[in-house]
């Protein structure tokens, strides 16, 4: 994919502030890039304002991220990306236990607690899709009305059937590898004859070893029987194109992005460090869509952080966006600029969208702005298998157990999906680096004995990661406080968050289920939750370490009326008719689906409405001639 040379700097920001665009989009991540591309296809004039550094996406630039990751001591999600105090990013290594009553203000996210989240998002071109894992399950039909069905969460103003065609669009853009037969479960349906762009990524050997113990296991919940089996996940990474795609036209995978022609990343190579960065760009990232949008002539101003959304007090319409453009990531110097447009789209992710709205003093009538912050809660359960199972053969996650994503038990406890991690205990213990230290320092091994010990230890590791539903809760929220600002003077997000009991019941059940699975596999359970851990949460006398999933959602939920929501089903603000709040923040619930595919589908749906609105509002007034 060619990134137009110079596109990151080609728009003169002073010229841009003199232009009235059809649409001004804040954020060059997956939501902003999809919307920009869709609007540019409709010949609208579009400006993207991006907080990240103003450098063209090139293969060598991407390899700079890789080098930083390779040499980093901590291999966390943000390790590939340079520090940028002008557009700071939360980092999981910043998380610290919170003392009640004393907010942790040491890092970008100000955390009130009581729970301390280690969730992250990435403020570079392409956004958080640079480090996402690229699992792309659709939400279940029952996820769209959990309030009516289970008395939990909120109902959506759209249902699965309404979103289905937009899921297809998102699957095309992201380039999803999956087999329809494997993804047809718990009510998820596809139109007759539908195939994914690429064939499913096969299960790993580790998956099949786990499957031998798990497949056919019966569990009873709320009087319903569920049969478990290991099943492949739909994935946003390049696999073998399906010749039957698109009525037999097939599919051409999109590889690495650069300013010159490169052929890389058209196939996943199984490198197994998808998170934080695919070495070959076989994993989708929004840079692929952004490059297309820029190729269509979309204007682009980077190093530009939204400061305030200005609203006309009479009409309630957004008049302009005030942003601060910094000269250099290492310097606090900036100039204040404005962007004008017919419509404005905030696509800066759930936390940043809410932060910017609240910093602009824009609260909706129902007071929901920033509330209902959601992220999947993860618990990790890990064990040593009795046999070498090929752990570390990638990609990071090929299969898991999804049979408890749905069911009547959701009246009482959260649903979950279980990932089988092909990268071993890494997430839980820092393996394989910690294993190396232990074997060298504690066991004094070297040479062939060290190599054998490493293989014996690591390739038997099994990590089950439970991605657990978190329902919307108004008290889980983003706020701002003028006392806390970043280097550029932008108010920082202040997070108040606790893990709901509903979720914790799912956590406790998941932990028990892991014991049963390990037993069936003859695996030795090494799971340990440290009470000193920042994510330690107790529930009914037991403690668990809860991790964030970086699946941020819910801070400007959509609904049927201004009384129950911030935006309508097209993600348009109820209060400001030319403002769209795009992305995960508009999702009223997240079920047990990683959010990117669904938020991408929502963006495709909204883009149609945006085009209609711009065309309607810019059409010459029909002056009726005398009849």
């Amino acid at each position: 994919m060619i990134f137009p040379q110079g596109a990151a700097n080609r728009t003169d920001p002073s010229d841009a502030s003199e232009t009235v665009y059809d649409a001004v989009i804040v954020g060059g991540g997956v939501a902003g890039s999809i919307i920009a591309h869709e609007l540019s296809q409709a010949d609208l004039r579009v400006l993207i304002v991006e907080a990240g550094p103003a450098e063209d996406m090139t293969l060598t630039g991407y390899e700079g991220y890789l080098s930083r990751f390779y040499s980093a001591t901590s291999k966390d999600n943000q390790s590939p990306f340079p520090r940028n105090p002008n557009a700071p990013m939360p980092r999981s290594t910043d998380a610290r236990p919170i003392v009640p009553g004393q907010p942790d203000t040491a890092s970008y996210l100000v955390q009130n607690g009581p729970y301390c989240t280690d969730t992250t998002y990435t403020r570079v071109l392409g956004g958080t899709t640079l480090h996402w894992e690229a699992k792309t399950p659709r939400m279940l039909p029952e996820d769209f009305d959990t309030a009516s069905r289970f008395g939990q969460g909120l109902d959506w103003p759209v249902d699965y059937a309404e979103l289905e065609p937009y899921y297809q669009q998102a699957e095309r853009e992201i380039g999803v590898s999956a087999d329809v037969a494997e993804q047809t479960y718990l009510g998820v349906t596809f139109p007759p004859g539908y195939v994914f762009p690429m064939r499913g990524i096969p299960l790993s050997y580790l998956d099949t070893v786990v499957g031998r113990g798990v497949d056919g296991t019966e569990v009873k919940l709320d009087g319903e029987s569920h049969t478990l089996r290991v099943r492949p996940f739909a994935q946003g990474r390049n696999g073998v194109p399906n010749p039957a795609y698109d009525g037999g036209k097939g599919y051409l995978p999109t590889g690495a992005v650069s300013t010159h022609q490169v052929q890389e990343g058209e196939r996943c190579q199984g490198n197994n460090n998808c998170v934080p960065l695919c070495p070959v760009q076989a994993k989708y990232h929004a840079g692929k869509t952004l490059a297309k949008a820029l190729g269509k002539g979309v204007d682009f101003v980077a190093q530009a952080v939204g400061y305030k959304v200005h609203v006309d007090p009479v009409t309630g319409r957004v008049s302009h966006l005030e942003y601060r453009q910094y000269r250099d990531p290492s310097s606090a110097d900036y100039v204040t600029r404005t962007a004008r447009g017919r419509i404005f789209v905030l696509a800066a992710n759930a936390i940043e969208n809410a932060r910017l709205m609240l910093a602009s003093g824009l609260r909706d009538s129902a007071g929901l702005m920033g509330r209902n912050l959601m992220d999947h809660a993860y618990i990790l359960c890990w064990a040593l298998l009795p046999e070498i199972a090929g752990t570390m053969r990638g990609t990071v996650c090929t299969g898991g157990i999804v049979d408890l994503r749905g069911g009547s038990f959701r009246r009482q406890q959260a649903a979950f999906a279980i990932d089988i991690h092909n990268d071993g205990w890494g997430w839980a213990t820092g393996s394989p680096y910690t294993d190396l230290h232990a074997i060298v320092d504690a066991q004094n091994k070297f040479g062939p004995a060290l190599r054998n010990a490493l293989v014996n230890q690591i390739s038997r590791q099994l990590l089950l990661a439970y991605m657990i539903e978190v329902p919307p809760s108004p008290s889980n929220r983003v706020t701002v406080d003028p006392a806390y600002r970043d280097q550029l003077g932008n108010m920082r997000p202040v997070i108040s968050y606790s893990v709901p009991d509903y979720t914790m019941r799912g956590v406790a059940y998941g932990r028990r289920l892991a014991r049963r699975i390990f037993e069936r596999l003859g695996a030795e359970d090494y799971t340990y939750y440290d009470p000193a851990d920042y994510g330690y949460v107790t529930h009914e006398g037991n403690g668990y370490c809860i991790r964030g999933g970086n699946h941020l959602a819910g801070t400007h939920v959509m609904g049927t009326a201004p009384a129950n929501s911030v935006v309508d089903s097209t993600m348009r603000s109820w209060e400001h008719e030319n403002l769209y709040l795009a992305g995960g923040g508009s999702m009223p619930t997240i079920g047990t689906a990683n959010v990117t595919l669904t938020l991408a589908a929502l963006c495709y749906r909204s883009a149609r409405r945006m085009v209609e609105q711009v065309r309607r509002e810019s059409a010459p007034l029909a002056v009726s001639a005398a009849h």
Binding site: Q5, L59, P253, T259, V262, Q263, E266
Partner: protein
């Protein structure tokens, strides 16, 4: 119309030419891989990607040649003695002015690669065969029927095969027979091989056979004198030229005048591996000897795997992907280690495959 008589007029001749094509395509891979893995890690990104893409596309060409051979009832065999040439070796070009070495990345190595891929057109079809000097011992695209002749360029060699294919097809058709009798299940399809711009073309008839042969030539030297092939992909010659000119091509550029982003080259960030190394360079019983023998054995296994993939088990090409990682690791083990007694020189894989009985692993 005074069309010269094709050099290929029998099926046996066609199969011999296609076997030579397999040898030719494969013979470029060891030099390209040696140069590729001689680059220091995390340096020379631009050169690394050019070398990698070209090497991957040579593997596509290998598969395309196998497809044509299979389609016409032949049987690809990459394990035959002499399939891998001893290096340095000649490749065909009208002037026989260069040999191909197994050598680390350098300006001289790059110049050789440019010669391998350079566009060259013989003025007439008769001149396609030019006399060969007696000194040339290893000629990859040498006319299988006439050891005293060689082709003007790789492109011309394929043009001759295309002509032969057309001739035989017409002849078979006139006799009510079909040339394309091969088992379609032996064809390598895009599911099993993918290289970016070029896809594996399954060959079942004249049209697809000519398309497969045409893609090989166009990916090497460009289509009709342009810098791109029919898929809009930059041809190998111009990919290499970007490194020499230190600038990328972009759409609309003329040959020799790239106008894209700059290309950065660090000629020094290279492991100084021993050119055209042979096992004799490594003392008996040494670790390097064991690593070099081990590499040759695993590379021989790899050629065996490809042969099985080309003779009815195309799905084995998926396994070939991780085998390529293994080949990389094996090559790195040699290229990154100094050669004892030769200061400033590193070891290198020897690619002595089936040339002599393999020495048992130490």
């Amino acid at each position: 119309m005074s069309e010269a008589t094709p050099k290929i007029t029998t099926l046996e001749q066609l199969h011999r030419y296609l076997y030579s094509a397999l040898r030719l395509e494969h013979a470029t891979i060891p030099p390209y891989l040696t140069a590729l893995y001689s680059l220091h890690p995390e340096t020379n990104s631009d050169a690394r990607h050019v070398l990698r893409v070209v090497a991957v596309e040579e593997m596509l060409h290998l598969s395309l040649a196998a497809n044509v051979l299979n389609a016409t009832g032949g049987t690809p065999d990459l394990t035959r003695a002499g399939f891998v040439p001893p290096y340095p070796t000649f490749l065909p070009d009208g002037e026989k002015d260069f040999k191909v070495d197994l050598a680390p990345f350098s300006e001289a190595t790059l110049d050789t690669f440019l010669k391998i891929e350079r566009p060259a057109k013989a003025p007439t079809k008769e001149l396609r065969l030019v006399p060969r000097a007696r000194s040339a011992r290893h000629l990859l695209a040498a006319d299988p029927d006439d050891p005293d002749m060689q082709y003007y360029s790789i492109g011309e060699f394929y043009a001759e095969i295309e002509r032969g294919l057309e001739y035989l097809h017409a002849e078979y058709q006139a006799e009510g027979r079909t040339l394309f009798v091969g088992d379609p299940s032996h064809q390598i399809t895009p599911e099993y091989f993918y290289s970016g711009g070029g896809e594996a073309i399954p060959v079942t008839d004249l049209k697809s056979g000519l398309a497969a042969l045409g893609l090989i030539a166009a990916q090497g030297e460009g289509l009709g004198g342009g810098i791109y092939d029919g898929e809009g992909e930059l041809a190998h010659y111009y990919r290499f030229q970007q490194i020499k000119l230190q600038q990328y091509y972009q759409k609309g550029d003329q040959p020799g005048q790239p106008s894209g982003p700059p290309v950065a080259v660090d000629w020094h960030a290279v492991y100084p591996s021993l050119p055209n190394a042979t096992l004799a360079a490594y003392p008996d019983g040494s670790e390097l000897r064991a690593a070099a023998v081990g590499f040759n054995e695993s590379y021989a296994d790899f050629l065996g795997l490809l042969t099985r993939a080309y003779t009815g088990q195309p799905e084995l090409l998926l396994e070939a992907v991780w085998r390529m990682f293994q080949i990389r690791d094996h090559m790195n083990r040699l290229l990154r280690n100094p050669l004892p007694g030769s200061p400033g020189v590193n070891a290198a894989p020897t690619f002595e495959i089936f040339a002599a009985p393999l020495v048992a692993g130490a």
